[in-house]
Amino acid sequence: MSVMSQDVKVVAPAATTRQALRLFAERRRSFWVVLSLLVLFTAWEIAGRVPISFAFPTFLDTLAALAEMVADGSMVRAFFLTLQPLVLGVAISALLGIALGIVMGLSDRMEWLLAPVFIVLQAAPMAALVPLVTFVYGIGLVAKTLAVIMLALPVIVLNSYKAVRHVNPSLVDMCRSFQGTRRQQIFKIIIPDAAPVLFAGLRLGVAAGFIGVMLAELLITPTGIGDLITYHRSVANYAHMYAAVASIIAASTVTLAVLQWFETNVMRPEKRRS
């Protein structure tokens, strides 16, 4: 009898916590994000403890290594170095890419002239081309910035060009009906209407830029995060090496998440989930 009543006591709060949990999970999308990360990190920890390889650190070791590198300042210094070619390359690609994309979208001749070049560039395996940059531009910041541009520019150009081509034709017709000039048509109708897709292209360009800067830092000369990866690999500090790899993945993910949030909330409010 006493056992029964104890059981009831235990079960009752469990049911409410389960309910609360279910309610929370339904309301907050972040619950699933946290759960998915939790599963990933647990799997990582288990794989590291098995271990699947002598050179595979556990998640907790990697976290400790990350904390150590943040604390001694080497991570901050590395990001400062890695962000230079990345920001420079993405900025140049964004300005040049959007301008070229819009020009290609507006003029058939420019499209015929430029589109094939960028389609080929987008299809080219860039990892094979990056080492060639060193033959012309050496091993400095210029070469690394160029590597970022090589990856980011084609994506931005082709997306901008498609954005302009897919502008709502009725809006352009409306502008013509109101006797808008060509300049008004471009700046008041076409560019604002293309803006969301232009921005989406920019976001993909930033993602490509991250790939470019890592290729440059691993294939040209090791600096920044690439140096942390190369150095810790060479002295067999595998936890530190994984922490450096994870940090650049995290930086890229966070950047893209922020850009995506900006895109859905500011550029396309209609896409926002209510």
Partner: protein, 327 residues
């Protein structure tokens, strides 16, 4: 769906085989993972491998991009023997791997542009260039700075001795450290413009052979034949460096080598003569490596606290030396 399931099943089978393979490796060829592509610098070793094959050892050589990858191949059991200097890996990763033969000692030459500097003291407060962070070149430059009581203002990392040689010739770098090919290029191109600084008391392994301890225990005969072939070939090259060219033709090695590469063989091996260990390194090499690599930061702890048996397996080398004698 069925196709995918088949793929998954075959992938699972392959990985199961990969796990089972190291245990059953004795009947298979000896898989050697090089940490670099084959060049004339590898010729000596390639000749030794041919000789081991003549003794009945089946050998399968793979050339990988870097020493790290060769070491990983041995750790994961995809190669039996690796080539490189895996001291850091041996200390930090408790993998059952041991070095069993030293192949070469570091041969590096600190060099300065005489327009700016003349000797070690002139480098005080100046910038130098080395291969990479934590590399042997950085360790050498740092040890010499400590020895001469100087301090560099900065260290630039320029991977590749040939790149640093080119940078010296172009004037982009004023003080650095190059390998024996770089030294020959500098001496040929501009003998008056550069001075090589004296280097004393730096002895360390450049490349060594290492393997899984299980593999060494299970295949002492094959590994013994390999060690014997390498040590005797090294002695032959040290006695007469020109023999490399003859043996290359005899075994038809590197058939695609260009005339420039071929012309480089004799001077390279003449320069390497003193860096070839004639007794396979052994305990003495391990001791000087401990001193060097603790100074470079690749190894942690005090050199005298490190144990040779944690890094080297001397059984096979000692039995071979017992048979062929030491020099």
């Amino acid at each position: 769906m069925g196709f995918l399931a088949d793929r998954i099943r075959s992938a699972a089978l392959v990985s199961a085989l990969a796990v089972a393979l190291p245990a059953a490796a004795s009947a298979d060829p000896m898989r050697i993972a090089f940490g670099d592509i084959a060049t004339i610098e590898t010729l000596g070793l390639l000749i030794a491998l041919e000789r081991a094959k003549e003794q009945g050892v089946k050998i399968e050589a793979t050339f990988l991009k870097s020493e790290d990858i060769a070491a990983q191949a041995v750790v994961s059991g995809q190669a039996d023997i690796g080539i490189g200097g895996p001291y850091a890996l041996l200390q930090k990763v408790k993998a059952p791997i041991r070095i069993f033969l030293q192949l070469s000692e570091l041969q590096m030459y600190p060099v300065v542009n005489t327009e700016f500097y003349q000797d070690w003291a002139d480098l005080n407060g100046q910038e130098i260039a080395v291969h990479s962070r934590g590399s042997g070149t950085e360790a050498i430059m740092q040890m010499m700075a400590d020895k001469h009581g100087i301090e560099y203002s900065g260290i630039a990392y320029v991977p590749g001795a040939e790149v640093r040689t080119g940078a010296l010739l172009q004037g982009n770098v004023k003080a650095t450290i190059v390998d024996s090919s770089g030294k020959r290029v500098l001496e040929a191109e501009a003998p008056d413009r550069f001075a090589f600084l004296p280097l004393a008391g730096v002895e360390a392994t450049d490349e060594a052979m290492f393997a899984n301890t299980d593999y060494l225990a299970e295949n002492p005969e094959d590994v013994g034949k390999l060690v014997e072939a390498i040590v005797t070939t090294w002695r032959e090259i040290a006695a007469d460096p020109t023999v490399v060219t003859k043996l290359r033709e005899q075994y038809n090695l590197l058939p695609d080598a260009t005339p420039e590469m071929l012309a480089d063989i004799e001077p390279y091996y003449a320069g390497m003569k003193d860096a070839l260990p004639l007794n396979g390194g052994g305990e003495q090499a391990a001791r000087s490596d401990f001193a060097f690599y603790t100074a470079s930061g690749a190894l942690e702890g005090k050199p005298e606290d490190l144990k040779v048996e944690d890094f080297w397996d001397l059984t096979i080398l000692n039995s071979v030396l017992g048979r062929i004698g030491t020099q």
